[in-house]
C-alpha cells in the first residue's frame, strides 16, 4: 500500500517572492521608528527607570527593602529568576530542537524567539546577582576563579554553583547561535544600507559576510553543530534550576519529579511568551504572511501538551505527598492547597492546567484574541507556580514556631518591573534594529513564482 501525503500548505502565504521577503523585513529596519514603537519604547524605558530605583535602593540599603524575613529567605527574587529562565527556554527549543527535527515552520519565528530567550536569560541572571546580600563580592566569588585569598574555592556541592554553570553555558550558546543566524541578514541590510553609519554598523555586525557558497556551507554546518550543542542544554538548564529545590531538605522542595516537571513548565511558559510577543509584532509589522495562523496553532498545540504534562506533575506531587506517608510532606501540600496561600495555588491550577485545555477547541487555538489572552494567562500561572513552590514550602516548614507569612513590598514589585523594563526595552530595540525574521532561512521555504518575480 502506498501512502500519499497531501500537499502541505505553504508556510509563507500570499505568494511572497524572495524580493518581497527582503523588502518586508529590511524596510522595518530602514524606516524611521513609528509612533507606536516610540510610545512602546518610552513606556519600556520608564518601566526600566522606575524599576531601576528599586534596584538602587536594594543595592544601596540592603535586601531588607524586600518583604523577605527570617523564615522566607527567597520569594519574588527566585520566583522571577526561575520564571525568566523558563521563558528563556522557547527560543533555543524552537531553533535547535525543531531544526534538528527539520520543522521548517520554525523558520519565521526562531529569530524573535531566540532574541526573547537571550533577553529573558539576562533578566533571569539579574536576580541571582541582585538577591545576594553582597552582590559586589558574590558576582565573582561564586565563580571558580583562581584567587589570592588563600585556599578559597567554590563549593561544588552547591546547586547554586551548578546553576551558575548551567545558565552561563546556556546563555553563551544561545547568544552565539542567535548571532550566527543574524550574520547573513545583517549582510543583507548592510548591502541595502544608504547611510554611512548604517553601512559601518551593519558592516561590522555582519563580520564581512560575502555570501559565497563556501560561506553558506560553513554557516549551515555551524548552525547544525550549535543546534546539537544547544539541544541538551534546553533540557539541562531547567533540570539544574530545579535542583536548587530538589536537593534541599525542605518539604515541597525535596521532590524528585522536579527536573522533567520544570523543563515541561519552562517550554510551556516559553512558548506562551513567544506567542504573546509575536502576536504583537506580527500585527504591528504586518507579518501575517510569515507568521501564519498555522504557526500559532502549532505553538498552541505545544502549549496544550506541556500544560498537560505540568498538570500531571501537579497531581503526581499531591499523590506522592499522600503516598509517602511523610507528615511534613503531607502538610506542605495540604498547606499549599488550603493554607493562607491557597489563592496562589488556585491561580496556578486555573492558569496552568485548566486554561490551556481550551486549546483543544480548534476555534480557540486558531483565534488570535483568545491565543493572546491565554498566552498571558499561562505566564501568570507559571509565575504563580514558582511562587507557590518557593514561598508556600518555606513559609511553613518543619518547626511551627518559625512559621511566617511573606508580604511583598513595593521594592519587590519594583525589581520585577525592572526586569520587565529591561526585557521590553531590549526587545523593542531588537525589533527596530535587527531583522525580526530570519530572511535567509525564510527565503528557502517560499514557493517562488517566477512569473510574479518578473513583474
Amino acid at each position: 500500500m502506498q501512502a500519499v501525503a497531501s500537499v502541505r500548505k505553504p508556510l509563507v502565504t500570499n505568494g511572497k517572492t524572495v524580493h518581497d521577503v527582503t523588502e518586508d523585513i529590511c524596510s522595518r529596519v530602514e524606516q524611521k521608528p513609528t509612533k507606536t514603537w516610540m510610545v512602546a519604547f518610552t513606556f519600556a524605558l520608564a518601566l526600566l527607570i522606575v524599576g531601576g530605583y528599586a534596584v538602587y535602593r536594594t543595592v544601596w540599603d540592603g535586601i531588607g527593602m524586600w518583604g523577605l524575613n527570617k523564615t522566607v529567605g527567597w520569594a519574588w527574587d527566585i520566583t522571577n529568576f526561575v520564571w525568566w529562565v523558563g521563558i528563556g527556554h522557547a527560543g533555543t527549543l524552537i531553533s535547535a530542537i525543531l531544526l534538528l527535527f527539520r520543522q521548517k515552520w520554525r523558520m519565521s519565528i526562531n529569530r524573535a524567539a531566540e532574541a526573547m530567550t537571550i533577553f529573558a536569560v539576562i533578566c533571569a541572571l539579574m536576580f541571582p546577582i541582585l538577591h545576594m546580600g553582597r552582590p559586589w563580592l558574590g558576582m565573582y566569588w561564586a565563580i571558580p576563579l583562581p584567587n589570592t585569598f588563600g585556599s578559597l574555592w567554590v563549593n561544588f556541592n552547591s546547586p547554586l554553583l551548578w546553576d551558575f554553570f548551567a545558565i552561563s553555558t546556556y546563555f553563551s550558546v544561545s547568544l552565539v547561535f542567535w548571532y550566527i543566524g543574524l550574520i547573513p541578514d545583517f549582510a543583507t541590510i548592510r548591502d541595502r544600507a544608504t547611510g554611512p553609519i548604517a553601512k559601518a554598523v551593519y558592516g561590522a555586525l555582519s563580520f564581512a559576510w560575502d555570501g559565497a557558497a563556501k560561506t553558506w556551507s560553513r554557516y549551515e554546518s555551524v548552525a547544525l553543530i550549535l543546534a546539537g550543542l544547544a539541544t541538551p542544554l534546553v533540557l539541562s538548564v531547567h533540570t539544574i534550576v530545579s535542583f536548587d529545590f530538589a536537593t534541599s531538605v525542605i518539604p515541597g522542595w525535596h521532590t524528585t519529579i522536579f527536573p522533567p516537571y520544570f523543563v515541561a513548565g519552562a517550554i510551556f511558559s516559553g512558548f506562551a511568551m513567544v506567542l504573546t510577543l509575536l502576536l504583537v509584532t506580527r500585527k504591528v509589522y504586518k507579518l501575517e504572511d510569515y507568521i501564519t495562523i498555522e504557526h500559532i496553532e502549532l505553538m498552541n498545540i505545544v502549549i496544550i501538551i506541556t500544560g498537560s504534562i505540568v498538570g500531571v506533575a501537579y497531581i503526581t506531587e499531591l499523590f506522592i505527598a499522600w503516598y509517602s506517608g511523610v507528615e511534613y510532606e503531607q502538610y506542605a501540600f495540604i498547606n499549599r492547597v488550603s493554607g493562607p496561600y491557597w489563592w496562589a495555588y488556585a491561580s496556578m491550577m486555573t492558569c496552568n492546567v485548566i486554561s490551556p485545555q481550551l486549546f483543544w477547541f480548534k476555534k480557540i487555538r486558531t483565534n488570535l484574541a483568545s491565543t493572546f489572552v491565554l498566552s498571558i494567562v499561562v505566564n501568570i500561572g507559571m509565575w504563580f507556580e514558582r511562587f507557590v513552590i518557593i514561598v508556600t514550602s518555606i513559609h511553613r516548614d518543619y518547626l511551627p514556631s518559625s512559621w511566617a507569612m511573606f508580604y511583598p513590598t513595593r521594592y519587590d514589585v519594583g525589581m520585577y518591573m525592572f526586569s520587565f523594563g529591561f526585557f521590553f526595552t531590549a526587545f523593542l530595540l531588537f525589533a527596530k534594529y535587527f531583522p525580526v525574521i530570519n530572511i535567509a532561512e525564510v527565503k528557502s521555504i517560499i514557493i517562488s513564482d517566477s512569473e510574479k518575480a518578473k513583474k
Partner: protein, 1037 residues
Amino acid sequence: MKENTKIYWKGIEQLKNDPEFVKNADKEFPEYLPISENENGNSRRDFLKLMGFGVAAVSLAACEAPIRKAIPYLNKPVDVDPSVANYYASTYINGSDYCSVVVKTREGRPIKIEGNKLSKFSGGGTTAQVEASVLSLYDKQRLQNPMKAGAAVTWDALDAEVKSKLGEIAAAGGQIKIVTHSIVSPSTKKAIAKFIAAYPSTQVITYDASSYSGALNANLSSFGIRALPSYNFNKSKTTVSFGADFLGTLLNPVAFSKQFAETRKLGPKKKEMSRLYSFESNLSLTGANADYRSPIRPSEVGLYIGNLYNLIAAKAGAPAISVAKVDDTVTLTKAANDLWASKGASIVVSGENDISVQTVVNAINNLLGNYGSTLSWDAPVMTKQGDDAMMDVFVTDLSQGLVSGVIFFNCNPVYDHPKGAVIGSSLSKAKFTLSTSDRVDETTSQVTYVAPDNHYLESWNDAEPAKGQYSLSQPAISNIFNTRQAQQSFLTWGNVSTSYFDFIKENWKETHFASQTEIGDFQTFWDQCLYNGVFEGDATSTMSAVEFSGDANAAATKIAGKYKKGTGLELVTYESIAIGAGEQANNPWLQEMPDPLSKVCWENYISMSQSTANELGIEMKEGFTTKVNVKAGIATVTLPVVVQPGQAAGTVGVALGYGRTKAGKVADGVGVNAFALLSSNSEGIVYSVAGVTIEPTGESYRIAQTQTHQTFMGRETVIQEATLAEYKADASAGRYKPMISSYSGPKKPNAVSLWKGHEYNNHHWGMVIDLNSCTGCAACSVACQVENNIPVVGKEEVVNRREMAWLRIDRYYSSQGNKEDKSMEGLSMLEKASENPEVTFQPMMCQQCNNAPCETVCPVAATTHSTEGLNQMTYNRCIGTRYCANNCPFKVRRFNWFKYHDNRQFPDNTSMNNELGKMVLNPDVVVRARGVMEKCSFCVQRIQTGKLNAKKQGRRPVDGEISTACATACPTEAIVFGDMKDSNSRISQLLRLSATEEGDTEVKEERAYNVLEEIGVKPNVWYFTKIRNKELTDNQA
C-alpha cells in the same frame, strides 16, 4: 658544571657592557616612560597619564578600609592585659531586685554580666534584666552632670545649695522625706542614718513598684517579723501558687527557678519530681510551668485560698473559716490532697498584695507545717521592705503641702506608683526637691535638683539580700559621666567627710569582720570578700522559733467582706519579665526580648482569652490585631489586643513597666503605663481593676511578635513529652522513634546516610537541653545577645519578622486537635491552642548538625564544618544568597537585611550606633556586615579562649571550664554544654554516652532526642523529653 652555564645576551649592549646599558639594566621600565616635567610643560600624554594615575589612586584610596587608631597604653595598668578578660565579683541592684554577679571586663570596660556561683541567695544564674544591665551603663541618656532647675551645675555648688536648703528646712522643723525603693544595702542605710542625724526631721519612705506590703504586714501580724521568709522550693514536693510568678518575677526568681528545677530534674537515679499547681488570671511563667493550672478571676483569689484553707483544715482537724464556696473545687481539692500528702514539704504562695489573703496563706503553710522546712525564718529575705501605707500618707502629706523637702533616692514614683500623677502635681508644694536618678525621668523632670547616681557597675556598695547573707559591689569601670554615688551624696550632705568606700569598709570591719573568726587580718578578710563577692556570715538562727499567731478567721471575714460577685471584666496587671517595673525600659535588649509567653516585644498589650475576644468581635492572626480602648477606673488607655490562651475568662491582662515618657529615646512612647490604671490606698496598691470596659476602636494594628504560630501541630519529632507515671514505667516514654525503611529492613534514621560523616579526633562539642527544667525565662537569649554582639533591629523590623536572635525560645501550647486526623479540619483544630493550654518551652539555636544541610548548599563554602563538630560561619566569605537559611530545617539562621551598625535608621540598636554604646561590644566577636548570614556559633570565642588557657598551662580543658553564654546564664542548668569526647564531662554523663562495637558513640539516655531526627541531619544538640507530673496530658487527650 659551571663552565657549561650558557649566558644569553639580552642584546648587543649587554655583550658590550656599555655604561648606558649598565645604568638602566636593573630598571624594569625604560627611562622615557615616567612622567616627565620638562621645560616645555606637560605634554597631553603626560596629562592623560597623570589623570589616569590620579583616578586609579583615588579609587584605590576609596577602597581602603578607614584607619582606626589603636592607642597603646603609655603605662599599662597592672591588671589590664589587652585581649585578656578580667572578672570582678559584684552585686546587681536595680530597684529592689538583687542578683550576685560576676562582671567580665575587657580593657577596662564591662562587657558581660554573669551569675556568681558562690552566692547562696541568687544561686549563680541570672535573669534577662541582669544580663542586659551592662548596656544600661553605656546609656547616652544618663545624666552627665548634676543639675539645678534643668541646668548643669558643679557638685560643689550643688552640695552647698542642698546643704543650706536642707539646713533651713531642718532648722524650721520642716518635714524632709527620702523616698526610695527597698534599700538592700546596710551601709546605705547607715549613710542615710548619718544624713538623718544632720537633718533630724527626715523620714525614709520606702515603697516598691511591685509591692510586697501586704505579705510583709501579714508576716508582721502572723509572726511578728516584717520580712519575707526564705523560700526553699527545692524542698517542696507540692507547690501551690495563687498568682505568684515565682519563676518569673516574684522576689528572687533566679534562685527560685534553680530550686524549682532541682525538683523537676529526672534521671536514672531520680524518678520523682515535684508537682506545681497554679491558680492565676494571666498566663505567667509559673503558670506555664505548672502541672495543673486553673484560670481564676483576681477577685476570687481570696476565696480560693480560703477554700484551700478549709480543705486543709478539715484534714488537720483545725476549725474552718467562713468563706464563700468557689465554682471549681476539683483542682483545688486535688491540690489540697497533694499538699496534705506532702506536709512539711510543700509551699503555698500568693502574689496578692493583701494582708488578709496573705494571712490565710500563712495559716495554710502553718497547718501544713511548712515553716522551718520549706519556709524558713532563719534568713528572712530583706529585698522587699516597702510600706504602702507610709507611701500613701506621704502622698497625702505632699499634696497638702506638709512636706518641705523630698529626696527621691533612685526611684520614680511619678511613673511607677498608682498615685504618681498626684505626686507629680504636688511636688511644687515642697520647698526642696531632689532626685538621685541617673536620668531626667518622669519624677526627676519635676524636681529642682538632680544629683545623678552612678550606675551599679561604677559603684561601691554592699547588700544584705537575706539576713546574714552579704555581698559587695565594686566598680568595674570608673565614672563615665560626672556622676556621684548617691550614698556619697548622703554622706556629704550629712557632713561626713569619709568616702563611701571607706565608710563601707569601716562598716564591714565593725560588723562582719568582727562576727567571724576565721580570718584575723581585716585586709585579707576584705580582699577575700571582694574576691568572692559574697560573705555568708554565721547562720545564727535566732528566729527559727517563730510561732504563727495570725488570725485566719478574721482575715477570712475581711476577704468575704471585700468580695463582690459579678464585677464584670477584671483587669490584672503583671510585671513584665523583660522590662520589670520599667527601670531599665531604655535598654533596647530588654525591649526587644520577646515576652516568654506571648512572644510580643516592643510594647505592652491587653491580653484576653479567645472567648472574650470573640465576644468583642476581635480576631488576631499572624500578628494582625485591633486596638481597643480600655476604661479602667477613671483612666482610659488604648492598647492592642493579644489573644492569650490560658487567660482566665472574664479577665484581661496588661504588663507594667511600659509607657515611659521620659526614660530615653528607646523607651519613650513604647506601650502604655499601666501603673496609672491602678489604685492605691492605705491598705496597699491593688494590682487589679474590676469593672473594666473594652471598646474596639476598629483600628487594625500589627503587633511585633516573634512567633505567631501557637502549637506544635502534634509534631512529635519537635516536642516529645510524657507524664511522670509513664516515665516511671518506661524511661523512654513519650519518645518518638522514627525508623527508615531500607533494603535490609527498618533502620534508625542516623544509620542511613549518603555522607561519610566527620571524624572528631580532639573535641566534639555538644549541648543538652532539658525541657523539664527549662522554665522559659529567656535569660539565655539575652545572654546570647550580649555575648555575641547581636543587633537590635527595632519594632518595625520585628514586625517584618527579622529579629536577629541566635537563640530563641520556642513556646508551644497544647491543642485540642487530634494529630491522627489528617483532614483539613483536623489540621486547623491542631493550629488552635487550647483555652487553658499546657505549655512547652524549647530553646532553639543552631543545632550544629553533623550532616548540616546549610553546608552543602552554600556556593562559596562560607559555612563549613569544624574538626570539633561545629558548624562554622565565615562572615567574610558570605555573599548572602540565603540558601543556607532556607535549607535549615530549624530556621535558626539570621540574615543581615540591613546594615545595623553605624546606621541612623536603627537608632534603637544603641550598642552599635553610638560611640558610648559600642563599648559594650564583645571584642572577641565580629560585628557583622550587611548582607551576610549569621547564626549561633556555640560561642566559639569562648571555646577558643578555654582551649588556649588550657594549652598555656599544658593540659586538657577541664569540663565546665568552657561553656556557652546561654548555659552559663541559665539559672536552672537546663542547658549543659560540653565535650562529648570527654567521657567524664557532664554532657557525656547526662547522655550516658557509650562506645559501640563499630567505634561510634551511642546515647544511652532514654529521654534524649534530636529534634527532627528522621531527616538525618544528626544535630549535636540533644533535648530531654518534657515530663509533666499529672495524670493525663492535654496532648494525649
